[in-house]
Amino acid sequence: MQGGNVILLSFIVAFILSMIPLPQILQTVRPEFVTIVLIYWCIAIPNRVGVGIGWIVGLVVDVSTDALLGQHALTLALIAYLAIKLHQRIRIFPIWQQALTILVLMMFQGTITLWIKGMLGDAPALSVFILPAFSTALFWPVAYLLMRQIRRYYQIN
């Protein structure tokens, strides 16, 4: 059970990145750093990071973005479930195919969020989910290579 601190730290860094103030235009295309980190750990060490962690991380995201409590908890738990379900396939994909898978996962997350927000009566425009989905997919190769280095360096498995 080594590297717990590194996993925690990676989530903290992801949270900070998702809170750093950006200009309005960049805000709308900011990748979902927390989701990327969660997906990576789910694929790399599915025996340690899974639905439970996804749910807890989601609750923290809910509070930090002042969303409905449970909204991100639900979507991230589902994402974690899918990532674990697909992890053996995703691992052997070339990196651009991984990015496409991430795109699909992000679209899925967007759909769930849209449903929840629609039920509350404040459904935003569709671009709200499509732009971050694409930027997250584009950011995936960088994040993947970086996090693989980190994982190998600290020998987390």
Binding site: V63, T65, L74, P124
Partner: protein, 289 residues
């Protein structure tokens, strides 16, 4: 999720997670703090002197205006006494600072650095303003910070009146930081580009008389029942860092279910006023025949 939407039971859970999130927010805000501190510390003597002179002049002008204001306020209270209408309670304020932290980009929200630990009398629904005008109201009070909704959030509506003629309306947020829309105004409503919109105080959440927005665009389409009126908020929603929290009813907290009723001491005052009105009315009825 339903619990959070419908009730307030999960607020304690939210507050306890918020305690975990606060260090992160503080960390993200830290560079901005350092920047402020550095620009404060390393300003040249010349800038300070210039600032000092402009502030002195401004202060002189403002105090001169204040002399008249005292007189006008006294006159106003006197006239209101004559009319036997309710007195306006003095407002209490508290200075707070925005944390430079990004949240959901599709909601117009901000985080402020006041929480329930240090200031236990801030409350959910409390309005806040900056030096220019109304900014929004608090939605979640957490131990070390609070989140607030700006008046430009699509889910926010602000009761306003046109300062020129008292025409009442509602200003809804559009999601853009520079636009409010005023729906349901008939095509022949007396409203012009350049009109100042001030809060009307109806609904009792926002105090009366704070400037809110300036009308910038009016589109009248005869085929539509209502005019399309757009206004620009006067508060510097995207630039202000120092804000003022306002207690519209002085010390008392309003009742969350109905902000027009106060929870503590002022309640009795209001009821006595209503009773005195009731006493006055039968007297008039007696006189009438």
């Amino acid at each position: 999720m339903t619990l959070d939407h419908r009730t307030t039971h999960v607020n304690t859970l939210r507050s306890s997670i918020a305690v975990l999130v606060y260090p992160l927010q503080y960390l993200v805000n830290f560079p901005a703090n350092v920047g402020d501190w550095a620009s404060d510390s390393f300003t040249s003597r010349k800038t300070l002197r210039e600032d000092n002179t402009t502030l002195r002049t401004q202060n002189l002008i403002l105090t001169t205006q204040l002399q008249k204001l005292n007189f006008i306020e006294a006159e106003n209270i006197h006239l209101r006494n004559l009319l036997e209408s309710s007195k306006r309670v003095g407002e209490r304020i508290l200075i707070a600072e925005l944390l430079s932290v990004d949240m959901d980009p599709y909601k117009q929200q901000v985080t402020i650095n006041k929480g329930s630990v240090a200031n236990d009398d801030i409350y959910s629904g409390q309005p806040f303003v900056d030096a220019k005008g109304v900014m929004g109201k608090l939605v979640h009070i957490e131990p070390f910070s609070s989140t607030a909704l700006l008046i430009t959030d699509p889910g926010h509506a602000l009761p306003i009146q046109v300062n020129r003629n008292g025409l009442r309306a509602i200003a809804k947020g559009t999601g853009s930081q520079t636009r409010l829309e005023i729906p349901h105004l008939p095509n022949n409503a007396d409203i012009k580009v350049g009109d100042l919109l001030v809060t009307s105080g109806l609904g009792c959440v926002f105090p009366v008389g704070y400037p809110a927005a300036i009308v910038v665009e009016i589109n009248i389409d005869p085929s539509l029942p209502f005019a399309e009126v757009l206004a620009e908020p006067v508060a510097e929603l995207d630039r202000s860092r120092d804000i003022l929290l306002v207690w519209p009813g002085g010390k008392a907290k309003p009742n969350p279910a109905n902000p027009c009723q106060m929870e503590s001491s002022l309640k009795s005052e209001n009821t006595t006023q209503i009773e005195s009105l009731k006493k006055n009315n039968p007297a008039k009825e007696k006189k009438a025949p």
